[in-house]
Subunit: 229 residues, 2 copies
């Protein structure tokens, strides 16, 4: 298992995963577009959480760098940018820095441009997915789609649902999926279902609309999907 993990992104998902990984004794490097801008930001995030600099003060063992720094530093990589920034982050990180690595893709191709609720970007829906696009952009990496169907607190503490939800994994490489599953187990996931190759990312990303409606009905994001069988 990797000991150094690179996280692309510095938002609430990246922070939540970063905190958990530091707790599990991983070396963590977070990557951003512009380090100075990220550190200078004093605004709370869209969920009311603290700005990155405050998170970093509480988690001084994490390293902050560029997307390229994070992709180079990690032997396993997590994509935690918002969906709209994912492909640009790959370009900035340099696809050569992904070669041979397991890349856990947590992103969702959500379009907030027309307000709430967001839609899925049509280009990455139904007959294609952001997960497949990512795999195509870093063809020498082994992309595993997972975790995108739950709130970030639940990603790293599935027991906070009060039960044992199911997590899906989809990817073309069995060893990369095993590596991702090992990480899921460290987070506490007991029921993991391998749904095959990376085209399974379509179904996983298309879960978002029912996730959003369920969140609205429960007025709470601490839930997960269990495959009862």
């Amino acid at each position: 298992m990797a000991h150094s993990i690179g996280i692309l992104g510095t938002g609430v998902v990246a922070q939540t995963l970063g905190t958990r990984l530091l707790g599990l004794r991983y070396e963590v490097t977070l990557g951003t577009r512009d380090v100075a801008t990220t550190l200078a930001n004093t605004k709370t995030n869209q969920y009311g959480g603290p700005p990155f600099s405050e998170w970093h003060r509480r988690n001084p063992h994490a390293t902050l760098g560029t997307f390229r720094d994070a992709a180079s530093a990690g032997s396993l990589l997590l994509l935690c940018t918002n969906g709209g920034g994912t492909l640009d982050a790959l370009t900035q990180a340099g696809p050569e820095n992904f070669t041979g690595k397991t890349v856990v893709d947590i992103t969702n191709p959500l379009d907030f441009s027309k307000g709430m609720p967001p839609f899925l970007v049509p280009q990455f829906t139904n007959t294609w997915s952001l997960g497949e696009e990512v795999q195509q952009r870093v063809p020498r990496a082994n992309v595993v789609k997972t975790l995108n169907i739950v709130n970030c607190e639940i990603m790293v503490h599935p027991e906070k649902t009060g039960g044992e939800p199911t997590m899906f994994v989809a990817g073309n490489d069995s060893r990369a999926k095993e590596e991702a599953i090992q990480l899921l187990r460290e987070f506490g996931w007991k029921d993991v279902l391998d749904i095959g190759d990376i085209t399974g990312a379509r179904g996983m990303e298309m879960v978002l609309p029912i996730w959003l409606r369920t969140w609205g009905a429960l007025n709470n994001g601490h839930f997960g999907f269990k495959i009862v069988r």
Copy 2:
């Protein structure tokens, strides 16, 4: 609660619901495009089940008629055609026969024209849904989207999953949703979640791709989705 139920469709979903409703002592009328053709069909269905005529011999209390007959006969209606035939069935049934009725829409806008697995029809995906289109075609009816996210055996016997899966309902009219929920409870659903108006049908129909992948992974359709919270 309605005592007479009209089912649009005569395929395996319609038959399975019909058998269950007859067992619950409802009067059941199934509607088809052409009665003589449906009765003359001797082929097994796509799932290896018997042709309609054989089902009808085993269930002689069910009435077979046209789409119009079924829509007229039922005080509650179930849409159980395949997705591609749904809108044409509404036209043939006559939208005036839906006025004031609860219409339970179980259909999925699946496109099998490019082989397996099917895609969702882009026109009815993401920013629109077949459920919304149905509501628009029968504006004086109260459409409730539900049951489309499980195998038809599970629709009427959720306990066959071995647990207590969640069923969603979406629709614009609260009383119609209550009527649909009462029917779900008679089928055995204990965990029903109201996700709001008919636009929720988008999320419910977009569950199909992950349903198909899960079915492939388990090699078994007897499963359901539980919202663990």
